[in-house]
Symmetry: D2
Subunit: 487 residues, 4 copies
């Protein structure tokens, strides 16, 4: 019997810290050894000239999910996971999204029903908590966290999803107590609605007004508020899809102070601007997402944030809607900016875009790229070290990356179920030639080898503080820090 099921031979391995030449020996779906002259293998694949990277972890994507208006995304778990795989992403964490009145347990059950039979890559679920009722907060959510659903997102905007500040404090407190991670979509709902109403009432309805209605101040304000609430509770907080220099600065300032505040950004904030929404006719609808792309100065600030420690996570926020009546234009052929389905696709191009424009230009090191696209998300969401790195014992989720492969992004190249890409025509250098999931070849060149449903659900282990009980019962001292005592 061979020593290994598979050996990747002669490649250059990169982790979030190191880059080194090594063969990778895989056994039982896991990385069994890194080294040279490792021994025999049932199969050997030549990786010379290639980078051997941990498969991407996309921690923010909407797959087979109803929006707040109950519109279903274009991608289900099959097309979504296949598209991810072709882009080098081997783990994703879509949302199990609660709508008001729903049981979180039901929501999770449905997510499993959707993902289980279809996904070709491994997955976990973030919960979306939009209705923190007594039932949810008192029973369902604690139980779900302890069952391994250790992250959830809350919204500060969208009428049907948003929670108020008191509910946010409840959520943060529970997250702290049980050891979960709270993600937040931080935009001030009143600001956006107030501007939108004025715009609509004056007849400003074109897609570009979407960007105007989501004024940068809406995002800056809500980001700071969310940080303040997390600071009060002394709970970790991750602000998703950051688009503005000010919000980035607030996150960095919090991190500088040592707060457990984290930031995420996405390709659309590096590569698109609000001008893209101002195209002929409804064409701008293709670029409508929230927060919207901003301007060139914001792009520079976001790039800086990837370098200076503002952002730990680079996700796609893949929210796939076709440019037709099933998606972007579901409210009619000429909807106001408020009725355009909200979101852009990006699951497959996330890694190639950042590699090409980040590593290729010298803005980011290869190790920073690995950290931003894979390792950090795995760590923050409890998937590391099983996912997110090339290390002994880790799942053999690997992108064998050709750093010299020049490709022009065009929709037909991609495998999602959307009918356009916002990055149409952009040339990138660097793309995976081979993608492994737990040692199985998922993608080889242009060919998919995965079976529907071969992806597995990943449950996780919450990390509560050492003595949560103690923190709950301590008498209050006026002179003491509130957060440290009340909880």
């Amino acid at each position: 019997m061979a020593d290994y099921d598979l050996i990747l031979e002669g490649g250059t391995v990169a982790t979030a810290s190191d880059t080194f030449d090594a063969d990778v020996g895989i056994r039982g779906g896991r990385i069994a050894a890194l080294g040279t002259k490792l021994g025999s293998a049932a199969r050997t694949i030549d990786a010379r000239g290639m980078l051997v990277l941990p498969g991407g972890v996309d921690a923010h994507c909407h797959i087979e999910q109803e929006s707040s208006t109950l519109l279903m995304t274009a991608d289900d778990y099959y097309s979504g996971s296949v598209s991810a795989a072709f882009g080098g992403t081997t783990t994703f964490v879509p949302f199990a999204a609660q709508h008001k009145g729903q049981s979180l347990r039901d929501v999770v059950r449905v997510a499993h029903e959707r993902a289980g039979p279809k996904s070709v890559i491994d997955y976990a679920f973030h919960l979306i908590v939009s209705d923190p009722s007594e039932q949810v907060m008192g029973q369902e959510l604690p139980a779900l966290i302890m069952d391994g659903y250790t992250s959830f997102k809350v919204y500060m905007t969208y009428e049907k999803l948003k929670i108020d500040d008191a509910q946010m404090l409840d959520v943060l407190t529970l997250a702290r107590e049980y050891g979960a991670m709270t993600m937040v979509h931080a935009e001030n709902n009143d600001v956006i609605n107030w501007i939108s109403e004025r715009l609509l009432s004056r007849g400003y309805t074109a897609p570009k007004y979407h960007a105007i209605s989501h004024n940068p101040i809406a995002e800056s304000e809500a980001s700071r508020r969310a940080i303040d609430l997390a600071r009060l509770i002394d709970a970790p907080l991750l602000i998703v899809h950051v688009s503005t220099p000010e919000a980035a600065a607030s996150i960095l300032e919090a991190r500088n102070r040592g707060l457990k505040v984290y930031g995420e950004t996405c390709p659309q904030y590096l590569f698109l601007t609000a001008d893209d929404l101002d195209k002929e006719g409804m064409e701008g609808a293709k670029f409508c997402c929230s927060p919207p792309p901003r301007d060139k100065a914001a792009q520079e600030a976001i790039w800086l944030g990837l370098k200076n420690g503002t952002f730990q996570v680079f996700s796609s926020d893949h929210a796939p809607y076709r440019f037709d009546e099933t998606g972007k234009l579901n409210a009619g052929p000429n909807p106001t900016f408020k009725k355009i389905a909200n979101g852009v696709p990006g699951l497959e191009v996330r890694l190639p875009l950042l590699f090409s424009e980040g590593v290729g230009t010298g803005r980011l090191t290869l190790n920073e790229f690995v950290a931003l696209t894979s390792t950090n998300a795995a760590k923050l969401y409890g998937l590391h070290p099983r996912k997110g790195t090339i290390a002994v014992g880790a799942d053999a989720d690997i992108a064998v990356w050709d750093p010299t492969w020049k490709r022009t992004i065009t929709h037909s190249l991609l495998h999602d179920n959307v009918d356009y890409t916002p990055y149409e025509g952009r040339e990138v250098t660097g793309w995976p030639r081979l993608v492994l999931s737990r040692g199985r070849v998922l993608v080889e060149g242009e060919t998919l080898h995965a079976e529907r449903g071969s992806g597995k659900f990943l449950d996780r282990v919450p990390v509560p503080p050492k003595d949560p009980a103690a923190t709950l019962n301590t008498p209050l001292d006026p002179a003491a820090n509130f957060g440290a005592r009340l909880l």
Copy 2:
């Protein structure tokens, strides 16, 4: 006939900018001349060795006003104005406070009915807008501004008073368009309630928990949010009764950026701390106000803010409740901290406290003292140059101040209708010997000369931007600053 009705002779006049020796000639209630050898006068008062200061303008006090729980203040316009006068304050601007459902016009009418027959000093009214209904925003408020009620306060906390962010944007927009000043009580309502509920549910009910429930973050957060909203609209904003270093820093940062953001603080944040709330039994109730006094470090930060341009206005936030069943203890002899009437008295001691501890110690110049206690408030609220300075043409509202008069503050010394003072036993140096209102002697030593109702209402003139119409109708440009265009 004499050249002047009255000449104040031989004193040292101080304005916000200058200090100089001059006689003050008063004619027809106004300052007719400053100089030497001015001529003849019907009456001459010797002011040698005295400072001749503009009478104080107290821009934040609650007089004959129902709280949100409909509790009436201990002071009516008579006792309130008399107390003010004895402390050197010759103008005050109490609130005409709307409760939900009330017509602003009615509220203003009632305020006039209360003040007119009683006040011995001149007065204007800030409106409190708690119910920005269509009627109020579309008709009453614009009309009232144009009638001279050019300032109003909104609350971000108190269930029965608070407005939400969208309403705040409406108010700021209207204020900008019509040229009024928006004041804001900035504390995050959810944060305070959330903490309070946890405290009460665990049995923490003593007065000191009032301070704990009003966590500094509640104030910092709301202050920043209010600034962000004002920034969006490009409207002036004055944050009242600032107590925390962080809120002060946010105001200063906004001012450093050139925003029209202003700050006010009060004696309780310089001279009291949260420890005062932690006295035996219910004694701490005497010090309950919102925001609460903080700690020594906060006091230092507030002093610095008086010096470095954070604060323009030093007001009393006089909110007088007796320490009995008509006031502090109206909910019973042993109320929880949520049921204690909220507020401290301070109208009469405002100037002496700041003079003694500010000018007397060298922390503030005499001119800064005048600016903080009189001139700046008059300017910001449209009363200048009629009030707030010693200048030709100004009303002869003058405090003839003895900078060497040592007094120990004790309740019996004061003229308000409260039965205690939070500054009991504190020794101060400097107090007015003589107070004039429009040339009339109001107070001379320990004697009151004023007649009930001799104070006059001051209407004001709004200062709208030069082309408000233009700003309202300009088409929107995605690249342009929103605030500058939409309004």
Copy 3:
């Protein structure tokens, strides 16, 4: 006999704080009264429609002074003071400049010899201390301060003038002890020389390289260093001619912290840019000054600094050199940028430029204009309240200002002895119609009424801390603040 020598009738008086309509009664060269119906006067001047402003105080100008290369300025005390007067400036404070090896006493004597017989406006001298020898620091400077020379400038650049950090600490310590004000030209000498040498060695010699050699970092660095040294000693410091956003930010940050740090800027940093140095041939030499004008963004930052409290003083830094072999081109017709005489004229246009672009556009209030051009300088340099305001007892130094007078700045309009103006062709609105010095008419329209030498020297009174001796002898405590103890 008339009550007054002169009454200015019907104008609008403005101080740093107030604006009011009043007649100004002048007696014995001083303002004797402000008021209406003041009485009789030997002469009455109609000021209706005019602003009655305190004459400008120009606290930074080089008059009849040798540069570090011993080049004499184009203006002597006659042409300089006349030019000042025509622009509404009634007091100036040129430099008595020490060169290495010189006795400060001699320097002061020479300054008096130059100014006394010629100046038509009142004047004081700042010392320039370039050689803080034992003789100077131990004897001359303390004695001079006590004699009323209470301000001095030091240089951090120019080979022949600069002092090092230890000497700066000596100067600051002495200034603190004796109650004087230290001004500093803050640019890092090494940075400028290092860049200059590289430029020259590569053949980059044109005037525009002057601006490149004075990299903004040279100014930012030295400004911060000077502030740090002053902070160590706890001594006041005024940074002159600030041109960069970063230096401005450092001053503001120091002021926000409550340090006694002050800032000055000049017209060239509001109205010129480095592009002006890049004109055909040697034309750019006309705009060479140090620090050099920067760019549009810097201009905006400097304007903001005038509004937000960064700058207290707006001076001309008038350094007049003709564009010929006596001045700019004294080293030959085609000098390298290092050999061009350094400085621009601006004494006469200082007030009109700031009034027109500041008050006229709404950027500054009239009172801020008065403070920046007159009052604050008088206060910081010990001339107030005799100079710098319109108040009873002050010298009757008054600019009767026509706010509607439109003029195009051109060299022939001006009265200095320079043969160009850097502001050629700029249209301004607002100029004095009449200028009084101690009640005498200096300028009336286009006519000069002053006699040579009619200006008087102004001595001043140092303001030492209350117990300088105590601070000198206190034993050192490791835990204590150094600055507060050692001195």
Copy 4:
């Protein structure tokens, strides 16, 4: 023949990014494989329950080096390297220190003569450049960089070592051009000397005055200045032994802006304070180092800096002097604070102290510990990936760390040649049980196995920018960033 020379079995490997269970297979002094079931080995060591960490890299230590007063350190390369090894450090980078007038080549030759025959661990040299003469800058230093001496330190203080700002610009420019790293000791020399002279002249001579003379402002100022100079040149800069909150804040601010500025701190700034210098008699001399330990608040700020990305490197700044006439007291038994030999030992306890108080308390993760003590220094100084990590191909420099080993630090425990430790009596948990260098067992428990001189010199490869020539010859554009163009 066995597959491996040595297998470490059953331990938990940690890198700067990952922690995983793996055996480590070593062949030819290098890590040949990480994995399980790796194969046969000539020797197998049981590492169960142990952490398998990359050996420490101490990037700041003074070994067999003359101080600026020509005092030789107590440790030579034998005792120094042995002490390092016992503390888990397997690579160090002492200084080859130039004194004024010396040839750098000679200095390097001497360093090799000293280290080669004695060191038991691998080593490289930082140069100290104190005399950047034409010979040094034009020939020796470029040649040395290209020979692999790619880092050097400069001093802003110490009379005999300091360079001025212009020389610093030369050094930074050369470093940029040739791809070297500049380290800087950042304290303002004038400030320290100025205070020292005042102290000495007043008779304040005890050790504690060392801390007073090195006022925090001296460090803050120089740190900011160094950053400004590096910013001008756009060259990397590493500020060593940072002790103050302000200096730390300046580094972080520079890093937030994306500058290539790095920070180092040391155990003395986490575990000692200025109070330690205030012990009976001369005892305080044991704690004299520069910068000196500060206070508790500074310690907290430095801890925060280890967490928030201010500091990349945690070094010992081991500067060993015995508490006798050969060291601390070489100037006599009772020297003034200026004559005490400057420095504290710390080479052996560096890792245990940080592990115990950092990882043990939860302040730092294990991976952060590895990064701070080993990986980052290896990366910044060009030793990675050969040193600083556990990865295939890396030298097998490994500390097998027992995280549960409780020890009380006392001098007799340590292996340096100093007669005291500043950490006497401190209890720590965590110490290496076994230390490997290139696969050889150096230390096993209390036993040393290394041979004198078995350590090897590590030369390095400079990393110049891609087109240094281009940057040198580009014509200058006034509008362009200077740093990017002139070089």
